[in-house]
């Protein structure tokens, strides 16, 4: 299934990644080659085959309901570009 340029742009919007014009052109070419390649998987018959959701036969892993020490404020915001009075700051949401 070939993707149009518009579809590439829609995917970029869904993934929240801004693309420059040259990037869109490049990706458009590569995308379709690549999708053609992965679609070779369709040559394989998977009727009656169950998908493998989990690699290991692990189940029921949980922890007791006991709390740990949360992060200190200077550690919370150490890597933060914009923060204000104990909050992370983002452009206004309408």
């Amino acid at each position: 299934m070939k993707l149009t340029r518009e579809e590439i742009e829609q995917v970029a919007e869904l993934a929240h990644i801004a693309l420059g014009e040259d990037e869109i052109i490049e990706l458009h070419n590569q995308f379709n080659d690549f999708i053609q390649f992965v679609e070779t998987i369709n040559d394989i018959n998977t009727d009656d085959v169950e998908p493998t959701y989990y690699l290991l036969p692990l189940k029921n892993v949980w922890r007791p309901d006991q709390h740990h020490q949360p992060l200190a404020p200077d550690e919370v915001f150490h890597n933060t570009h914009e923060h204000d009075g104990g909050f992370f700051k983002v452009p206004r949401i309408l």
Partner: protein
Amino acid sequence: MVEYEAVIGLEVHVELRTKTKAFCSCPNEFGSEPNSNVCPICLAMPGTLPVLNKSLLEYGIRTGLALNCEIAHFCKFDRKNYFYPDLPKAYQLSQSDFPLCLHGYLDVETDLETRRIRINRVHMEEDAGKLVHGEGNADYSLVDLNRGGVPLLEIVTEPDIRTPEEARLYLENLKAIIQYLGVSDCKMEEGSLRCDANISLRPVGTDILNTKVEIKNMNSFRAVQRALEGEIERQHGLYETGESIIQQTRGWDDVTGTTSLMRTKEEAADYRYFPDPDLVPIHLTSELVESIRKGLPELPAARKERFMDDFGLPAYDAGVLTSSRELADYFEKCVSDYHDPKKVSNWVMVEFLRLLNTHNMEVRDAKLTPSHLVEMLQLMDQGTISGKIAKTVFEEMFATGKKAGIVVEEKGLLQISDESKLAEMVEAVLSAHPEVVEDYRKGKGKALGFLVGQVMKQTRGKANPQMVNKLLLERI
């Protein structure tokens, strides 16, 4: 003319009162300093991994059992992917195709009948953080992630609800059950219980499902009822004028009492669900489920039955008293020390609830304890105080938390039962109102009441009413 009925389904999110968050060990607390209950995991710092809180699973199973659900033998967590600043991982851990609980129901009693509302599913997920919008024209919003990762149950009904009133009743019942289970405090104003509604209309007698509208942002049970009433009217209007209903999400505004368009279906997000490879699946044995079932507390419906059977209460009283676990516990503590459940019921239902409502308090906040109430009832029985005075004593106890005896003493509210003292007052009243005495003799029964009232007025209500009655009758 076509008559329409509403087809309503509710989605309720309940924040669980576990000690810690769903997938990390940060405290699950309301009202802390912003971003003080956060760690690398709930801040979604790179490389961190979730580990399931066992209490979330247990609370989920308890709730499912109380709602008569089947508990799944297999369930898993999926990622629901979308970008928003209150969702640090940019995916919410939720359950998509294999939820924890399926196919339950909840019975609600309307004035006319018992309605069974089927529960489609109950699943586990995590809450998002909170956004605070800058004041005025500020060009920023602020993010607090204390709530991010707090465990939630999403409880989804089938479209079985037919009226806004049924929706409210369903919510009240659901809240009572969840509070009984002790898994959430269900405070809608703090957001620990949230409700979205789906509603469509159809001609009565058909079973078609028309285009539905989702309503969000309702902040009280009353708001849910009002919003649904408004939406029925809006959709009805559209059908009447032959317009079509567009699938959409509408937001409730409590101030204006109306809903407005938030988004249409075309704008709906693509959540790209897939199983979270960082968590492992859950396989539940019947032994585990049964052990949790055995630990379930008595639920509201059963307790109501028992109150009617054991205490001889009318259905109405039993219903009101068992509507909250705390209130029912309060009542039971009183009757364990007092012989007349109906009398207790009257005081709890009328005076106690009235004062709680007036002061916007919860049962647990009340200073007036069950033993205080019992002591007051005993003082009444002994004739130490009259029923009228008791009301004053009750209010004083409610306000101060003092014991009944002390209130009576401090306020000088002891009943006057001294016969000679009362006889003097009766004489005085009789001679001051000869015309009333005359009326009584002519057969006006009400006149006696006036005379009793005069004596009570002079004693500021403290006179023993039976004795005053007797003394008056002797002298007329």
